[in-house]
């Protein structure tokens, strides 16, 4: 039944390793950019608030495939943005991380914004009354509590991101979905191959969800 699984011919582990790398780098990128976006959305400066709101509402409503292909066609071919690499496949990998981060950051931003809403207004007021600046209030008082109460929604975003990395196949990044397509074309075992890759993803995301669920309980702020 598993005759098709010729690991010499199909680099199954390499493909999933690429999936993991896409996920990890995009997770870091989207966390940083998403935090910056939420800071803009709650800032007292109207221009920044407007930018944050516009960015989130536009980007999260564009299909990820369109964003990823725009990164390859628009940035790489038209604007010659090679992300510091002569090698096309490396450049595509980096562009995929860029696209995934830009897209996922909108969901990180909104998860964090709901976390900010759990922090009582009075604490920010007390911090301001003490002479802390806006950035200090956000960084020292509001965001630490927002992150702690956003672990569960952020876990959802991370799981979605893990699965969304399959879209990078559209620009030939050698991750799991691209290998699956290749194997389905070459072998007759469509159903088994599908199951194999599905279990691969479940194997990646299930522990993530369990571990972060435990973390969410551990770090919750007692009120």
């Amino acid at each position: 039944m598993f005759d098709f699984l010729d690991l010499e011919r199909y680099d199954l582990f390499g493909a999933f390793w690429m999936t993991v790398q896409l996920t990890v780098f995009s997770a870091i990128g989207s966390l940083v950019w998403g935090t910056a976006l939420v800071a803009m959305r709650v800032s007292p400066v109207p221009v920044m608030r407007a930018f944050g709101t516009a960015y989130v509402n536009i980007i999260r409503n564009i299909p990820l495939t369109v964003i990823i292909i725009a990164c390859a066609q628009g940035l790489y071919f038209t604007l010659r943005v090679d992300m510091g690499s002569d090698d096309q496949s490396t450049a595509y990998f980096r562009l995929a991380v860029l696209g995934l981060s830009a897209y996922t950051a909108t969901f990180v931003c909104e998860a964090l914004r709901s976390g900010i809403n759990t922090v009582p207004m009075g604490q920010a007021e007390a911090a301001r009354a003490m002479g802390l600046s806006f950035v200090q209030v956000l960084w020292l008082i509001v965001l630490p509590q927002a992150f702690r109460s956003s672990v569960a929604p952020l876990t959802n975003v991370l799981i979605a991101l893990t699965k969304n990395t399959t879209v990078a196949a559209a620009i030939s990044v050698a991750e799991a979905a691209l290998l699956m397509k290749e194997m389905i074309e070459n072998e007759a075992q469509t159903l088994v191959i599908g199951l194999l890759f599905a279990s691969g993803f479940v194997l990646l995301t299930l522990p993530t969800g369990l571990v972060l669920g435990w973390v969410a309980k551990r770090v919750a702020v007692k009120r």
Binding site: V119, P120, G122, Q123, E125, A126, A127, R128, A129, M130, G131, L132, S133, Q136, L140, I141, P144, Q145, R148, V221, K222, R223
Partner: protein, 262 residues
């Protein structure tokens, strides 16, 4: 405990300083159509304890919150220690650091321990070293009687303890004036006194205080002056015994008749 932990700058027995510390002149504020502060003129001298009382919705909390610009004003001026209150930014933050504030709902930072709550402002705003800040924090926590709770989180404390920590947190900044916005209104009855005692002690030591409260006993015993507000105006100000025994305005007589008979 130790002598170097004075809660206030100078003892009350010092020569009476008539220096003006907080000056509100012709202050007006609207919430939409509601004129919550109407031509407020109020001067608070260094070392003075001013208690603001009045019916709900009379604007007394709003008045208190304008002094450190947690509420903006529509017209008029507010000056603290001779300097006009800046509108925004670094200048405003610097001035706020000199004005301690205690809130009705305590507002302790829930993710930080009691000790961290009291050291944060010292380290981040006053730029004190961590060791100095902790020493001062522990001394202040001792003064307000919660030294043994230093490593707990706010949610593990009773309301009265939380409010005393909040007072210590404000005092840690060495403020020139302390604002109390209904500090006992959210407390269970048996915890009110422990907070009022800390405030009494502070008043005795000569801290300049503006206290919005419904505690008439505190107003009577600790205030140098009672300010009575109604409908956004200061209706009457007087020394406590004069105000409580001989109110001049009908509005104050009516208010007092409603609260003093139970």
């Amino acid at each position: 405990m130790s002598d170097d932990v004075s809660l206030a700058k100078e003892p009350r027995d010092a020569p009476p300083a008539a220096e003006e510390l907080v000056v509100l002149a012709d202050v007006n504020k609207h919430f939409g159509a509601l004129h919550v502060l109407q031509d407020i003129n109020l001067t608070i001298h260094r070392g003075e304890v001013v208690v603001v009382i009045g019916p709900s919705g009379s604007g007394k909390s709003t008045l208190c919150r304008t002094i450190n610009r947690l509420e903006t004003i529509d017209s008029g001026t507010i000056a603290i220690d001779g300097r006009a209150l800046p509108a925004e930014g670094r200048e405003l933050a610097r001035l706020r650091a000199d004005v301690g504030m205690v809130f009705q709902s305590f507002n302790l930072f829930a993710h930080k321990t009691v000790l961290q709550n009291v050291t944060l402002g010292q380290v981040k705003v006053r730029r004190r070293g961590r060791a100095d800040a902790e020493e001062r924090a522990r001394a202040l926590l001792d003064r307000v009687g919660v030294a043994n709770q230093a490593d707990k989180y706010p949610a593990q404390l009773s309301g009265g303890q939380q409010q005393r920590v909040a007072i210590a947190r404000a005092l840690a900044m060495d403020p020139k004036v302390m604002l109390f916005d209904e500090p006992t209104s959210a407390l269970d009855p048996e915890m009110i006194n422990e907070v009022l005692e800390v405030m009494q002690q502070l008043a005795r030591e000569g801290m300049t205080m503006v206290v919005v409260t419904h505690e008439m006993g505190f107003a009577r015993s600790a205030a140098d002056r009672v300010v009575f507000m109604a409908d956004g105006r200061i209706v009457e100000q007087a020394e406590p015994h004069q105000f409580f025994d001989n109110p001049r305005s009908d509005r104050a007589k009516d208010f007092l008749s409603k609260i003093l008979h139970h």
